[in-house]
Amino acid sequence: MKKRFLAIGFMAILASSAVIVSCSKDDDDFGTEVSQKSVLTVTLKGDNIATYKILDIEILETNTGALTKKTLENVSAYSFQLPYGSYKISANGTVITKDNEEVQVGASAEQDINSNVVNLSLPLVIKQFNNDFIIEEVFFTGSKTNDGKNYNNSRYFKLTNNTDEVLYADNLIIATSEFLTSVKREITPYHIDKAFPVASAMYIESTTGKQYPVAPGSFIVVADNAINHTKDNGFDLRKADFEFPSTNPSLGQVDNPDVPNMKVMFTNMDRMIFLYTTSIQSYVIARFPAGENEQTLLQNHKYDYSYTTSAGTIRPVSSYEIPNSWIVDAVNNSTDEDFLHILTDPSLDAGWASAFPKFSSKSVRRKVLGTMSNGKNLYKDTNNSTADFVRNSEPSLKNGIVK
């Protein structure tokens, strides 16, 4: 009899466990971790600012890729409710100074959030605009040939005179970034608020300074290889104004003797200027200020930095940098999947453009605001590539160079 009780008791335990199981379905939350929320208060700061007229804030969480956007009008602080995470914060907009001048500003910051309350002060910098060339378009993705092979050539920069006066392309510098928007390392020293670290830099060599005039609204094309690439689904770049020099025959580039070569000042690729196809690089155009030239840049603007490798060792690297004050325009490039940080000071470019995937024959092209008095396009330039550029655009030179 006692054993029968044991058996009945055992059955009762089984039955009660079934009841517990069936009740557990009502507990449909995610547990206490759902309270991992934080209040991030962003306070905008800047010298000589009277009114924070309008500012677009973008906050990217880099584990989930979640993007939070908010437009602030006439306020300098805002509290965001955000889950714990590792954040990149950027601001772009317009403020009115105490001198009643309306100027454009930008800012960027990084912040890890894993506590309930976080306060962040975001110093705004006034954007630097120059009455000079702009980067109207960069084609770096490459193309696919008819038999599906990757075609790495036919890349180009299109630089446009977005002013109402004649500009001279003489001594104009084009430089590619030393770092990538998709890789974040702790670089020492790192001072993009002062200078732009470069992987390669080339310029339009000129003795007179007035050899290459460009009319208002007109443009110059700097091609990697000024030949006809159409058989490989690239573009006919024979009418390019300049081309990247090629002294490395193993890389297969052909020099077009009718198109002047850019002068390479520095490159970390073997005598080549190379553009990444993957939309993870930034580009700037710059001018030598009075008294500066190739020699003074190489002499006075060496950039020696170091970072810790994944193996834990310190790796020293020697490169060059271009002071921000020399830079006339900049564009960061990244992708939605890979973006981690911009490589320029926000005063030069506080956003990023994108052409993706690689070998897609897509380019980054600046948006058209309207037309100039001479009927040429007037392009948008707010030093925020996110807003200024059309992503994954059809290249403007797909039918060749027509001026």
């Binding site: 059955m11 199981v21 557990s24 989930t64 979640a66 912040q111 890979d338």
Partner: protein, 505 residues
């Protein structure tokens, strides 16, 4: 394990099977015992290895060579459009004495899984949603090896049982994206039963499971490669670890259960099982030399099954009730991207899938001298809720399935048996709610909407197995069997066909 080692072990198992094989004068009783429909319906009772000593009153073995082809027109992209391939299987149960038994099995298969996309891993159901994915995908060549063995013994009022199994898989794709996956799965279980009163037994059992999966995705051109995504479900991915292609899944699990039965489960039994496992995914950054844990998928299963059987002359009647609750909770890890060192800054539960299944089966069997007829009508009700947060996305649906499985074994001659097993089922979606977040790229929206549409579609399934067993002189019995299943989803047919040749003894 390479193929040569497998072949050696495999033939040892076959030899073992021959030694344990035994002759029978008439084939029908032997086939009816070996493929006993009642036993097939109560497999959960044999979770407990201590109950295996009563699995069969006689020894039995099978060796088979199988070919299968599964062609699906409507399919979940992460599972592919079916598979084709060959397998070798052998299993054996041997009564050593009236109070002890050993059993074992060895399987090898070589399959091609077709048209997989958004999933570059194996064992999708085990690791989802934390799979590696790219949108290209393709076919996957898969080899699997599996060995298992157990021993059970009765001593006075006690029965003991021990069981172990090991499975390994190797998958690869020889064109971009070049996938390589290996898995290993080790299970060890033990159980004990105690006869408390007359034919009443109570038992407890436990199981330990260790599982690992290592995966990588590579491209011929190591400099240029498309993006690889680390999925977190519903089209969302781990932004920080996307493009990192080496993954590692490590899972530890246990299962405990209790059982009460009468007449070795042939009168009634109640069995309850609780199991828990944690599957931790690690990703090695492309520039890095260590794996970072990115998710911990906790899987909790509770199951209770009760069955009652009784006999009326030649009729055997039974009822089986089963309730299963499977709750999977994904805890995701976040790291800083603001410094060189990827320091952990949060862990949070962000994914949950709940699946509740209730089933009732009735069992009827008529045993006559020349034939055995079995019918198993069943009803199944299933509720599935799946969702994630940051951002919120989810889907919920419930469905009921009505079906009937029939088995007819007919003795044509003393040494020939023909078996015919038609089956039919209809799954009806009762209610479906879609709260899928569509803030995704268009291709991903298309994919998750298609998944939802398939999961919440009614399914009509019809199939049959026909099998012919025969004995020639004193050789072991041979069999040939063919199977066909047609599943109609969204007015398209998914077809499964299989052919088997084998011997039983």
């Amino acid at each position: 394990m390479n193929l040569s080692k497998f072949v050696i072990v495999f033939f040892i198992c076959i030899g073992f099977s021959f030694v344990f094989g035994q002759d029978s004068l008439r084939l029908l009783p032997k086939i009816n015992n070996q493929y006993n429909e009642e036993r097939i319906q109560i497999q959960n009772f044999y979770y407990n290895p201590a109950s295996m000593s009563d699995y069969s009153s006689s020894s039995m073995s099978e060796f088979s060579l199988n070919y299968q082809s599964n062609n699906q027109k409507t399919y979940l992209r992460q599972l592919g459009s079916g598979d084709t391939g060959l397998s070798l299987k052998t299993n054996s149960f041997k009564k050593l004495k009236s109070n002890s038994a050993v059993w074992g099995s060895a399987d090898y298969s070589n399959m091609t899984k077709k048209n997989l996309s958004y999933n570059e891993n194996l064992d999708f159901e085990r690791i989802a949603p934390y799979v590696t994915q790219d949108s290209v995908g393709g076919n996957l060549n898969l080899e699997t090896y599996h060995f298992a063995g157990g021993y059970a013994k009765k001593m006075n009022r006690f029965s003991f049982g021990l069981f172990g199994s090991y499975g390994a898989q190797m998958a690869y794709r020889s064109r971009d994206p070049r996938v390589k996956n290996t898995t290993s799965d080790l299970i060890i279980s033990a159980g004990i039963n105690y006869k408390v009163y007359q034919d009443y037994e109570i038992g407890v059992f436990g199981e330990f499971n260790k599982y690992t999966q290592n995966g990588s995705v590579n491209f011929v051109n190591e400099v240029s490669y498309p993006i690889i995504y680390q999925s977190v479900g519903f089209g969302y991915t781990n932004y920080l670890f996307n493009n990192d292609s080496k993954t590692q899944y490590e899972e530890f699990g246990y299962k405990i259960g209790g059982q009460i039965s009468s007449k070795e489960g042939k009168d009634f039994y109640i069995t309850g099982v609780l199991s828990s496992s944690n599957n931790i995914k690690g990703i090695e950054p492309r520039v890095g030399n260590r794996y970072y844990d990115t998710s911990d998928l906790e899987n909790k299963i509770s199951q209770i099954e009760a069955a009652k059987f009784f006999s009326l002359k030649n009729n055997r009647i039974g009822l089986i009730f089963n309730y299963n609750s499977t709750i999977r909770t994904g805890k995701e890890y976040g790291y800083t991207s603001n410094s060189d060192n990827r320091e952990l800054i949060f862990k949070r539960k962000a994914y949950k899938k709940e699946q509740y299944t209730t089933s009732f089966k009735a069992f009827y069997q008529l045993t006559q001298e020349k034939y055995i007829f079995t019918a198993v009508p069943f009803f199944l009700y299933q509720e599935i809720t799946e969702r994630r947060i940051y951002p919120f996305s989810g889907q919920k649906y419930d469905a009921y399935t009505l079906g009937l499985d029939v088995d007819l074994k007919v003795e044509i001659k003393k040494n020939q048996v023909l078996s015919f097993k038609p089956s039919y089922s209809y799954r009806n979606i009762n209610k479906a709610i879609n709260a899928l977040d569509t803030n995704l790229r268009p291709a991903l929206i298309d994919w998750i909407n298609q998944d939802y549409s398939i999961l919440t579609s009614d399914v009509f399934t019809m199939g049959a197995i026909i099998r012919y067993d025969f004995t020639i002189h004193k050789l072991p019995s041979f069999f040939i069997s063919g199977q066909w299943i047609t599943m109609t989803i969204k007015e398209k047919n998914n077809n499964f066909g299989a052919l088997s040749l084998g011997i039983t003894f």
